[in-house]
């Protein structure tokens, strides 16, 4: 961005400054640490200068918002037009209670729904499964069949909202239920808007909510991509997720690299299915965490967009500009929140959200201050939503596009994130891709190592976490009443399930489950048969069990 002459002129001045001004200041004012580093172990310099970005070519590397390589944003006017989608992940207890929370959030100005399912549902188990005991409706909403889903979306017109569903192993079944509700409401399938997370790869090494082995899992992912490409043109079939990789303990570079490596695998697998890249790539979406290191996070989001655009253009020869878009959802990082002095979490969430907005996200979830203690209470979730509204309407950062572009530091970090992520991607390619890197434990080990290092830094106080290893107090003040799931939720949910099972046509259910078994054996796209099955009120567990019998179950590879 600078001509060579002025770069070297400034560099010469920098040398003088380092020899004179700096040492004389340091004599009386030593720096706080010997070295300053980001969470990814990137050394942070005292001062960034034009020489740090001397190879940056504005048109090649930054360009204009809405144009390749999209470093400055996906859309020409970004938030001057439409603000990001404020989407709060929520779900607890029975479908009826979550339905009330959804309606409350929509009334308070939320612009999209996001469903959290309970652990049994996530693992493809019904509420009456022996493994579900004590877990029903505890960490999310219990959905065992279409009946629960009907209650969950009661009075919510599916052509007016978009819905994100955090579901992976049983994504096809939950999407099928959503389609079934759309059909009942008379909403054409092409008008259904939303996202299924449906990113199985990261499950094997990060979130670890796996049901089937990697290969059939990816087959189901591709079934959904293929089905949506043909029938649900407004649906994002997969949300390729770095969030869980980060929460499991990775650093920012690993989050970026592993997410993109997963993305590459999905593109390759879908191409193998015979689809054309420009037919499905525009609907691939991404999901990242916003962690504490403000500048590193902004750089991560900008680098992610640029890197994905290059991969799609160069590696996969995509032509449609929308195939090059990395549309992203961001959630503030749950693992950065503290149980100690929880009100401080409001500040952490605000800073992380600001990084996400300055990084150009399309959609944002802000965590609630009480989430290290329980599922968020209504008051806490309101503060979280208000945080986004304050950034949007009061801070001014949404009034211009990519305001930190051109910062020597942010641009240098953006380059560094991209380079380091690319090194990892090459390494994974050399191993034969993500699945071999899971099977040989590489990805699990990388994350476990980073997580352990982070904890050691906290234990040794190399990293200060306010309220935890410094600035501590005797008694923590929790300003709000925590949400507790009533113990009778399980019984209530079991009653709904039993009633449904009595009322449905059990012969029809058996017939359609047999049909599903045959379809799975034949290796055809399973979506149409799954839709048929959920409409007959076959349960989530029954359908999953059919697949368990055909695909087998995944046995965790334990890497400490």
């Amino acid at each position: 961005m600078f001509d060579e002459q002025s770069v070297s002129k400034i560099a010469k001045e920098r040398e003088k400054w380092e020899k004179t001004t700096v040492p004389s200041w340091l004599r009386r004012n030593p720096e706080r640490k010997n070295e300053f580093k980001t969470t990814s172990d990137i050394a942070i310099k005292r001062l960034y200068l034009p020489e740090d970005v001397k190879n940056l070519d504005y048109l090649r590397d930054l360009g204009f918002p809405g144009r390749f390589p999209f470093t400055r944003g996906l859309h020409a006017t970004m938030y001057r037009g439409r603000l990001w989608t404020m989407r709060q992940f929520s779900g607890f207890a029975t479908a009826e209670q979550t339905n009330k929370r959804f309606k409350y959030l929509l009334k308070e100005g939320e612009s999209g729904l996001s469903v959290a399912f309970d652990y049994p549902s996530i693992m493809g188990r019904d509420s009456d499964d022996p493994m579900s005991r004590g877990e029903v409706g505890v960490c999310g909403v219990a959905v065992s069949s279409l009946r629960d889903m009907e209650i969950l979306f009661d009075g919510i017109p599916l052509d007016k909202v978009t819905t994100s569903m955090t579901i992976n192993g049983p994504a096809a079944m939950l999407l099928a239920m959503y389609i079934a509700i759309g059909d009942k409401q008379g909403v054409p399938r092409r008008k259904l808007g939303g996202t299924t997370q449906n990113d199985m790869l990261k499950e094997f090494y990060a979130q670890k909510l796996c049901i089937f082995p990697p290969k059939p899992s990816v087959k189901l992912v591709v079934d959904i991509i293929e089905y949506c490409t043909k029938h649900l043109s407004r649906w994002n079939p997969v949300s390729i997720s770095g969030y869980h990789i980060r929460e499991a303990g990775s650093n920012a570079v690993q989050e970026l690299a592993f997410t993109l490596a997963d993305g590459i695998t999905y593109v390759e697998s879908t191409l193998e299915r015979g689809l054309k890249v420009d037919d499905f790539a525009p609907r691939l979406s991404f999901f990242f965490a916003a962690h504490n290191n403000f500048l590193e996070e902004i750089a991560k989001f900008r680098a992610a967009r640029r890197l994905w655009a290059k991969i799609m253009k160069e590696r996969f020869k995509a032509k449609d500009p929308r195939s090059l878009w990395m549309r992203m959802h961001v959630q503030t990082s749950g693992c950065t929140l503290t149980a100690q002095q929880p009100i401080n979490n409001v500040v952490r969430v605000a800073l992380q959200s600001l990084a996400a907005v300055l990084g150009g996200t399309q959609s944002l979830h802000t965590n609630s201050l009480d989430e290290t203690l329980a599922l968020p209470s209504e008051e806490a979730v309101t503060v979280a939503l208000r945080t986004q509204q304050i950034i949007a309407h009061e801070s001014g950062v949404a009034d211009t596009v990519d305001p930190l572009a051109g910062s020597y530091c942010v641009e240098a970090l953006t380059n560094e994130m991209e380079e380091r992520a690319m090194e990892y991607i090459n390494k994974i390619d050399d191993m034969g891709g993500v699945i071999p890197a899971i099977e040989n434990g590489f990805l699990q080990r990388e994350i476990a190592d980073s997580a352990y290092r982070y904890q050691q830094e906290l234990d040794n106080k190399e990293r200060i976490l306010v309220g935890v290893n410094d600035y501590t107090v005797e008694e923590d003040w929790v300003p709000i009443k925590l949400l507790r799931i009533a113990p009778d939720v399980e019984a209530e949910q079991l009653a709904i399930l039993q009633k449904m099972k009595r009322e449905r046509n059990n012969l029809r259910v058996k017939e359609v489950l047999d049909k599903l078994h045959d379809a799975a054996d034949r290796d055809e796209n399973l979506m149409p048969t799954i839709i048929e099955a959920v409409k007959s009120y076959a349960t989530l567990g029954e359908i999953t069990n059919v697949f368990r019998s055909v695909f087998g179950e995944y046995k965790e590879l334990i890497v400490i």
């Binding site: 652990y119 004590g134 960490c139 503290t338 149980a339 904890q455 976490l465 290893n469 799931i485």
Partner: protein
Amino acid sequence: MSSGRRIRVVVAKPGLDSHDRGAKIVARAFRDAGMEVIYTGLRQTPEQIVETALQEDVDVIALSILSGAHLALFPEIMEQLKKKGLDDILVFAGGIIPKEDIPLLKKIGIAEVFGPGTRTDTLVKFILENVRKRK
């Protein structure tokens, strides 16, 4: 640790949740502190945990749970330990466990409950001070 065998710990994950970051970190920390560590992996039933403790002849069980199902699962673990005569094993827990549940958990024999933000050396010290050497 000069006399006798090393302390044997099983780090166990009951419940359906998959948050194993903490469990793995403490497993490593115990190993680095010179203990023999067995990590069970995710989603262990109470029966499986007790069976592992028996087979591996452990001195300590460290339970990690973040799903909220502790009140349903912990009593069962403690009961089965008692039935098998393993109630001299030191059992403690960590994860997301509301403060108001702790008295009940202590009553059934869980020695201590640690929350988020606990230092790993606090846990090591806790084991060293509380483990009853069996054999």
